[in-house]
Amino acid sequence: MADPMKIRANAVGDSTEVKVLMNHEMETGQRKDAQGKAIPAWFIQNVTATYNGKTVLDAQWGPAVSKNPFLAFKFKGGAKGEKVTITWTDNRGDKRTDEATIA
């Protein structure tokens, strides 16, 4: 399984601010190796964030998102101690789910 994400979730007023760092090469498929062969595309295609079973963000990404992607967003609700879960899946079918406690 891929390396874990780093998720920070903070209660700000009546909302929750989420910042995520994901571990992923996000290979575009444009680069060539030393032999001149194209390095195959390998990138996160879907990202879903949930809170209390409800989807708070749903994204589709292409390889133009930077390596080791960063994402920041905010949603209404969430209290200290509750959990936010983030899942990504990539074009190879690899998947990673991590959760963070709202601080």
Partner: protein, 273 residues
């Protein structure tokens, strides 16, 4: 005849002045925009991913002897990580050698964890998923524990004085195919390569700002790079022979630059282009 030429010279001078002013103006706002770019990167530094991996690695039993790093003495006692980087390099009596962080980590890997010297020093600089570097992750973790601590490299020990002098010598030593020294690029104010400003490492301020921001996540490589890497890459760009990982030469230069940064708060792992 003379008066026409004088007028032409005056006009040329005026145009040149305007050109200089507009270039300076352009450079000023470009510099501002790049500062904004660097600022925008600060939040959410992928270096944190290396820090997390390094912290796990520090606590994990590893190597043929299945020992963790928690007995590794970085200068403040076995297993003490907080503030250790701000006092490195230092002289270690058990190894009878002045060591920087990376050299000390290799020492612990060999003497405590049972790795061979060759294995411990293999592939210190990572390359994506195909070649991950344990050293880089460990450096990220250990240095993160000195964030905010004032640099405090001591030259009390005679061997430290020696290393500092050697490092200073190396800084000004011209060599390689291009006759470059570190000082060639880093010995004056306002130098740059393309749009990359070069810090003047001969001033206290320049040395402080430069040393306290390594290791760093280097956006152009998508990797966390350490100070050993930074020196290695400078040598490469100077067309010098390869700077061997954890060699005395690398430690001497590090001692010189780290000591010159004394007094400034350490602020890494940082994020750079």
């Amino acid at each position: 005849m003379i008066s026409i030429r004088r007028r032409a010279v005056a006009r040329a001078g005026a145009l040149a002045l305007v050109a200089v002013v507009s270039v300076a103006w352009g450079q000023g706002s470009t510099v501002d925009e790049i500062a904004k770019y660097r600022q925008a990167l600060q939040d959410g530094n992928p270096a944190e991913l290396w820090e997390a991996r390094g912290e796990d690695m520090w606590k994990q039993p590893r190597g043929p002897r299945k020992v963790s790093f928690e007995r590794c003495d970085l200068g403040l006692g076995p297993g003490v990580v907080k503030g250790a980087y701000a006092e490195l390099p230092r002289y270690f009596a058990d190894a009878d050698r002045v060591m920087d962080l990376e050299t000390r980590l290799v020492y612990c890997m060999v003497t405590q964890q049972g790795y061979s010297d060759a294995d411990a020093r293999k592939s210190p600089f990572g390359n994506g998923n195909e070649r991950k570097s344990d050293i880089e992750a460990l450096v990220a973790y250990v240095t993160s524990q000195s964030r905010g601590v004032k640099m405090n490299v001591s030259l009390d020990h005679p061997r430290m004085k020696e290393m500092y002098a050697l490092g200073e010598n190396m800084f000004y030593f011209r060599g390689g195919t291009h006759d470059f020294a570190c000082a060639t690029c880093h010995g004056e104010d306002n130098k740059r390569i393309r749009l990359q400003d070069l810090p003047n490492l001969t001033t206290r301020e320049g040395a402080q700002k430069a040393y306290t921001t390594w290791p760093a996540y280097r956006v152009s490589q998508g990797e966390l790079r350490t100070f050993q890497w930074r020196l290695y890459d400078c040598f490469r760009q100077q067309r010098f022979p390869e700077l061997v990982f954890t060699s005395d030469a690398s430690i001497a230069l590090t001692t010189f630059l780290a000591r010159n940064a004394n007094g400034a708060a350490f602020d890494a792992p940082a994020i750079k282009r």
